[in-house]
Structures are given as structure tokens and as C-alpha cells.
């Protein structure tokens, strides 16, 4: 059993704040992770419907990606508020990788703003389209490798706060690289599963195949990782086998279940199972890691901020959540609820109207390569005061009318 140094006083506030921090990270993995995964599929879009796939990804992400990204900031702020010593140590130890993560986040965010459908992109927009996918793939890889690095024992922090990094152990070990790859695969899997829910027809089949492929990659990577873990992160392994065994088993079971559900085309259920899988795996890692923030020198207890600050963080969180939870519920209800969008093919007037209303688009966006329904098909839901949008979706008169 590993000796756990406990700070003076009551360990409860530290524990609760650490749990809140994990919850924020979990939300980021499940929501922001899927957005990263969307970027992976944007990068890997192939075949006759490549552009339609990209559009579906953009449409699924559009309304929510900013909110999804905030979980990372929230986790970061909580980390330096509640565990300042861990934050400063990580800042030194991960100077290069975190800068790369930053570059990835900045490029990806900017690319999402700058992108335009390939058919309509002009000038710099073309270049940014590929940046989006590339940055979305590299960033989660680095984030995953970071999780591995703080577990690997390659980052040491002296009593006086001096940080030394054994780069080979922390960064370039097969373990870290594989965890990075596993993160990418998991996020891609999540994204593909979400997208099966939000698309129909041939596109849905595309994403189903992609989900199965990514699921297979997750399984293979996990299988390779298992024998490596005891050697690279013995403490993690030890604790996992002690406390986390049921969680790991549950994670594996959920992975199999969600893949089977995808196979059977039970997409809504598959989405639930896939989310549960990611949550369980992440918390399994957290359990194995507990109470270390950076193994073996920095713990939740010895890095914690003074009690009043922890208490403040604990008080302000529920208050903030009182505002956030209903707002988030509203956001997801409007855009992801029983999903009015899901029943609409990409490129339907409704979908286009949403997209068009939201992004500064080249004129040609109307002519994006996605198929549209017939001209005279009435709009699903009259907007504002009910003008059929199908007509304006092309900005023209209903077909059949000729110019004068």
C-alpha cells in the first residue's frame, strides 16, 4: 500500500474540490472530447460524401462547441485556485507540451471560425480547413499524454518547489504515446457515435462505420496498454488493481456494449453507453491516481490552497451551477433535444438556415455541396412569422419561376 501523506486539518474540502475538478475534466472529455473527435473525422473525411460529412460535423458542433470548450478553462482555473502548487509545477514540467496544446487550441478555435464548406471556401479559408482537422487530432493526443506523464513518475518536485523532468520517462515512453493515441481514438469514437445520432441515411452509415473502426482502435490500443501499465506506472497499476478493478471491468464492458449497440444501429443507446465508457475509464484513472496530482511528489493535500479558498470554491460552484445547468439544458434542448435537427438531412433548409444565420459565410455557402430537398418543399418550422424558408434558402424564387 502506498503511503499517503495527509496535510493538517480536515481532508474533506480538498477531496471535494478534487472531485469537482474531476467532474469538470469529465465534462470536458465527454463534450469537448467529442468536438476534438469531430475534428479528427473532418481530417479523415473521405469518399463521395466527404464534404457532407464535414458539414454534418460543423453543424453538430456549431451551437455547442464554445460551451464545450469552457470546461477546460473551468478545470484549469479550479486547478490553480485550489491546487496552486500543482499548477505551477505542471507549468514548468510541461512547458513545451502545454505550449503545443495551446497552439493547437488556438489554431483549432480559429480554424473553426475561419472554415467554410470546401465548395465555397476562398483564399485563406482553404488552408484553415485542414488546420482544423490537424489541430483537433494533435491536441487531444498531447492532453492524453499529459495524463500519462503525471502518472508516470517522470516529473519530480522537490520540497523547495524545484521541478525536474525525466523527459524520456514522462513523454517519450511508449506508455505516454499510447495513452495519447488512445485519447484520440476514444474521442473519435465518441464523435462518431454522436454523429450517428445526428445524421440520417448514407451519412449515418458513414459515421456508423467510422464509429466501429474507432471502437476497434480503442480496443487494440487498450489491449497493448494493459501489459505496459504495470511497468511504466506501477503505482497506478497497483492502485487500479486494488481499488479500480470493478471500474476497469465496467469500462471494458461498456466499450463492448456501446460497440454492439452501434453495430445493431441502436444509436441513441450507443451514445449513452459510449459516454458512460469514457466516464468510467477517466474515473478509473482518477482512482488509481488518487491522491496524487503529480505522482509521486504532489498530492491533493500537499498542494492545496488555504482552506478559506477551497471553501470559497466549493460555495461558488453550486451557485454558478444554478445559473449554468439551466442554461446548458436550454442550449442542448434547443439544439440537441429530441433533436429536431436529427430528422433533417444535412443541407435541409432548416439546417442551412441555422448555419447561415450563424456564420459569416461566403455567398456560395448556399451552394454548399450538400444535397437539398425539392424547391417547393415547405419549411419544417416557419421561422419568426412563418415565411417558408425553403424558398429563401436559395434566396430565389421557387423553381419554375423565371426571371423577367
Amino acid at each position: 500500500m502506498v503511503f499517503v501523506p495527509v496535510g493538517v486539518g480536515d481532508p474533506l474540502p480538498e477531496t471535494v474540490v478534487a472531485v469537482v475538478l474531476m467532474l469538470a475534466l469529465t465534462a470536458y472529455a465527454v463534450l469537448g472530447g467529442a468536438d476534438f473527435g469531430g475534428g479528427v473525422w473532418d481530417l479523415l473525411a473521405r469518399g463521395p460524401r466527404a464534404e457532407a460529412q464535414r458539414q454534418a460535423i460543423a453543424r453538430a458542433m456549431g451551437p455547442v462547441w464554445e460551451a464545450n470548450h469552457v470546461w477546460l478553462i473551468f478545470a484549469l482555473v479550479l486547478l490553480f485556485t485550489a491546487f496552486p502548487r500543482a499548477y505551477s509545477s505542471l507549468g514548468v514540467a510541461l512547458f513545451v507540451p502545454f505550449h503545443l496544446v495551446l497552439a493547437g487550441i488556438v489554431l483549432r478555435g480559429a480554424a473553426f471560425v475561419f472554415r467554410a464548406p470546401a465548395a465555397t471556401a476562398a483564399g485563406p479559408q482553404r488552408a484553415w480547413a485542414s488546420v482544423f482537422g490537424a489541430a483537433s487530432t494533435i491536441t487531444p493526443f498531447l492532453l492524453g499524454a499529459t495524463l500519462a506523464a503525471v502518472s508516470s513518475g517522470g516529473i519530480r518536485v522537490d520540497a523547495d518547489g524545484t521541478v525536474t523532468v525525466d523527459a524520456v520517462n514522462a513523454w517519450f515512453s511508449p506508455f505516454s504515446l499510447l495513452v495519447g493515441a488512445l485519447t484520440v481514438a476514444l474521442f473519435a469514437y465518441l464523435a462518431a457515435v454522436y454523429l450517428t445520432v445526428e445524421t440520417r441515411g448514407a451519412l449515418q452509415e458513414d459515421f456508423r462505420r467510422r464509429a466501429l473502426g474507432a471502437g476497434l482502435a480503442v480496443a487494440v490500443l487498450a489491449a497493448v496498454l494493459l501489459p505496459l501499465a504495470p511497468r511504466t506506472a506501477p503505482h497506478l497499476w497497483e492502485l487500479l488493481s486494488e481499488r479500480g478493478r470493478p471500474l476497469v471491468a465496467a469500462g471494458a464492458a461498456l466499450a463492448a456494449l456501446s460497440a454492439w449497440l452501434v453495430w445493431r444501429r441502436r444509436f441513441l443507446l450507443a451514445r449513452v453507453a459510449a459516454v458512460a465508457e469514457v466516464v468510467v475509464l477517466l474515473w478509473g484513472w482518477a482512482l488509481g491516481q488518487w491522491p496524487y496530482l503529480i505522482y509521486p511528489d504532489v498530492t491533493v493535500f500537499n498542494a492545496a490552497a488555504p482552506d478559506p479558498i477551497l471553501r470559497f470554491a466549493l460555495w461558488v460552484t453550486p451557485v454558478g451551477l444554478l445559473i449554468l445547468i439551466p442554461s446548458l439544458w436550454l442550449l442542448f434542448a434547443v439544439f440537441k433535444g429530441d433533436n429536431p435537427q436529427a430528422d433533417e438531412p444535412v443541407g435541409s433548409p432548416r439546417a442551412q438556415a441555422d448555419e447561415a444565420a450563424a456564420r459569416p459565410a461566403l455567398r456560395r455557402d448556399a451552394a454548399a455541396a450538400s444535397p437539398a430537398p425539392h424547391a417547393d418543399e415547405p419549411a419544417v418550422d416557419p421561422a419568426f412569422q412563418g415565411e417558408p424558408q425553403a424558398e429563401r434558402a436559395r434566396g430565389g424564387a421557387p423553381s419554375g419561376r423565371t426571371g423577367r
Partner: protein, 555 residues
Amino acid sequence: MDSLLAARLQMAISLGFHMIFASLAVGMPVLMLMAEGLYLRRRDPRYLELARTWGKVTAITFAIGAVSGTALSFELGLLWPAFMELAGPATGPAFTMEGFAFFTEAIFLGLYLYGWNRLSPWAHWLTGIPVAVSSAASSVMVVAANAWMQNPVAVETLLAEPHRFDPVRALFGNPAWPVMAIHSTLACYAATAFMVAAVYAWAALRGHRDPMRRSALRMAMALGTVAALLMPVTGDASAKFVATNQPVKLAAMEAQFETEAGAPLRLGGLPDPETGAVPYAIEIPGMLSWLAYGDTRAVVPGLDRVPRDLWPNVPVTHVAFQVMVIAGVLMVLAAAWYWWIAWRRRGAVMDHRALMRGLVAAGPLGIVALEAGWIVTEVGRQPWIIRGVMRTAEAVTPAPGVVTTLVAFTLLYLLLSATLVWLLRRIGHGPVPGVTAPPGAGGDGGSGSAVATEALASASPARSGAAPSSASAAQATTGRAGTPAVPDATTIEAGLRRPGAGTGRSACPAVPGAMTAGAGLHQRAAVAPDGPGPGGPSGSLGARGAGRAATPGVE
């Protein structure tokens, strides 16, 4: 270059970049809400068009502000780990609340942007309110953290008896916070308003002087005027606080090398720290003493009160301060000029070319003032990162490679800036029939943006009764006869303009052939081949759109 200088430069560049977009993200939602509110009251489509376009600009600025802000929260730890270890707990609560505000903003901006067709008009407008409120709250909270660095309340308690430290009192009981927060948040509004006004003044010079743009200019100037008039008041309060709380900073701002009674106000000048002289300055006797302490004979402590190694960079602080003040004064003058002309020439304010040129020139003033003000605040605090507690040099990261990251991030931000300029330049207004393109305007109407025939879907309201004239948008914009009438194209997607397509004549063709495509759109539609129109991106738009229209959904 040593790590300290590189880290300071990287932080300065990251902050300087972030501030532009963060300030726009604070100001734009207010304009957007004003426009949509006017639309709801008057049902005039011009306001809807403005609200939509401004919403898009808000989205872009918010997104870039969000990523650059994320970069900053990482960089605090990456570049200044020792500082964050000490200040993290003290400033954390402010950042936590800022996180919540930011989160709220992200959620409601998503609803606002994508909800045009999914929410009732009033509900939609209401979703914009949290965007404006929370972006201002973000600004106020971040400033609270900075105010603590300027004036670290209860830092002794934090160091000696951490369990008795009260973060709420330390942050929000800090007298530096309200003056700084109000001053800098107002600066965000001024910066946004003058930028937006400049865009419409520029359009006026290019011949786009329709009622919609006139309203846009008026709204921007209204916001800008309120902010510009309040700035000197809050600025004076800020300076008075600095005088009592950070006398060294005030001395650097005013180039006050010697402690003196009845100190003069030095306008301009280039202070020389070696000689203590301020050549080229205009001095107003006793003015500084009066401004700082309300008495022309008051003693103003000079830089001679502190050892030389505790001086901030005096020339930079002083010059930045002068720039800020001058920019502030010019904004007030520009605003006064605008309202004078607006009053003199009802409705024809956009025809006044000299004023329009002046407003274009005044466009960057708000941003300049904002950046200069931050230089004053931050450079004036040096050499301290937490005043009197920790020096910037003690806080910098021991990690090697700061110079590399400085270069990399500078290039990254340059790239982003270039792309953003490109993108924002191409956001234009679509024509609003009867509003932007009065018949007979000789094709002067459209802003060189989308033509109706190529406009995207937009949830335009049924205009009560006012059916659009058949001098339809398309015709008005392209100035061509023979374009199809576009029923109900009351608002048109704000499209992107070709660079240089603002000639006020043909608005649209981004590709050769599009002109004709517009004319023949519907005939083509009937016979368009399946799939996208001919030839990749250079294919004709109209044909492409039409082709799509005739293509059965592939499902």
C-alpha cells in the same frame, strides 16, 4: 534575450492581442442587442439585418477572444509559475467567477447565433442579454485579479496565516478594483463603438449611404459617445487612486522625477531617466498636484523617493499615458463633431465627407487608448508582479525555451490577425429592399455583398404589409435589369465581400460568370445537372445554387 524579457514580451503580445477581441466581444453584444431591440419595436428590417451581421461579428470576436483567453490562462502558469503559486489562491476566486460568466456567455451566444429560426423573436432577443451582461462581468472579474496584483490586499495574511485569508474581501474589498473595472470596461465599449463607426463611415465614403448604415453609424456613435464622455471621469478617479496607492506609478506616468510641491502637469515629452529631465513637454504649473490631490500646492512624491532599481520604465509609462489621454480627448472631439453635423444635416450626415474621413481615422482610437492604458498599468507596476511582494524577475519560469515560444506565438498571432482582418473585411450587409437600396440609387445600394439570388436562408420576418418592391434586392444590388424578382427577400444573409468589391456597383460576382448566373438562375435551375454546378470553386455560383436546388436529396 533572457527569459524574463521574452516572457514579458510573450505575455504582452498575448494580452495585447486578446484585449482587442475581448473588448470587441464586450462591446458588440450591446450593439447587437440595441439593433435587435429596435427591430422588435419598429419592425424595420434594417435593424434585423444589423443585428444579424453584428451577431456574426460578435461570434468571431468571441471565438478568438475565447481561444486567446484560454492561451492566457495557460500562459500564467507556463510563464509565471511562482507568481501563480502565490497569487493563484488569491486571484482564483475572481477567475472562477469569470469562468462562470464566460461559460454563460458561451451558452447564450450559441443560442443567439443558431437560434434565429428556433426561438420566438422576443425569446431570441432575451438570449442576447446574458451575452452582453456576462461579457462585461468577465471583464470586471479579470480586472479584479489584476487589481489585486496592483494592490495586494491582505497579502500579509495570505503569507503568514493562510487559514485566515478571506479571498472575497481581498478581491472585492480592494479599492483599486471598482475604479479599474469601470474604467477598463467602458474602454471596451468605446473601442468597439469607434471601430464599428469607422466601418460605416468607410462605407459612406465608398458610396453606401442608405438608411440602414446611417442607423448603424448612429447607434455606434451613441454607444461611443456615452463611453467616451465617461472615460475622463473614471480615468480621473483611477489616477487619483493611483496617486495615493501607487505613488511610484503616478510619478512614472507623469514623469515626476523629483518630489515637489505644486507639481506641474507635463503634456507630452520624452522623459530621460538619466538626467531627470523631460524635454519637449508642455508644463501646466500646479496642475498635477491639483489633479492628484485637489490642491495646486500639494506635494507630489517623485521617483527620487524609491531606489533606482524599483523604478518602472519611465519613458514607456509616460508616453503610453500621454497616448491614452490624447486618444481619449480625440474620441470626445470626434463624437462632438458627429452630433453637431448630425444635428445640422438631419439624415445627410453620411454625405459629410470630412466627418466620415474623421470617423475612419478615429476608428482605432478606442483600441489605441485601451492598449496604451494597459501598458501604463502593467509597465507602471514594474518591477513588481505583485506590488511590494514579488518581483517579476522572481516569478518567471525556470524552463528553457521561452524565446522560442515567444517567436512561435508572435507568428501565430500575426497569422490570426491577418486572417481575421481578411474575414472581417468580407462581412458585408445584404441589401434590404426599400432600406438599403432606394430605387434609382443606381446600384448604389448593396454593400458589395450577397446578392439576393445567392443569399442564404434567413429567417426574415414577414414585413407587416410592406411587400418588397420588385426593384428587388438583386436588381438593386447588381444594378442589372433582368434579375429575377425575389419575393420576400426582405433580409439577406450577410455575405462576404470580395476584397475590393466595394465599388458600389456590382456587388457580387466573386467569380466570373456569376453576373449572368444571377440573370439566368431559374432557367438554369430547371435544367441543372445533378450535383454541384460546373467546375469546382470557380464554377458559377448561381448555377451551383440552382443545381443544388434541383437536385433531389440524396438520402
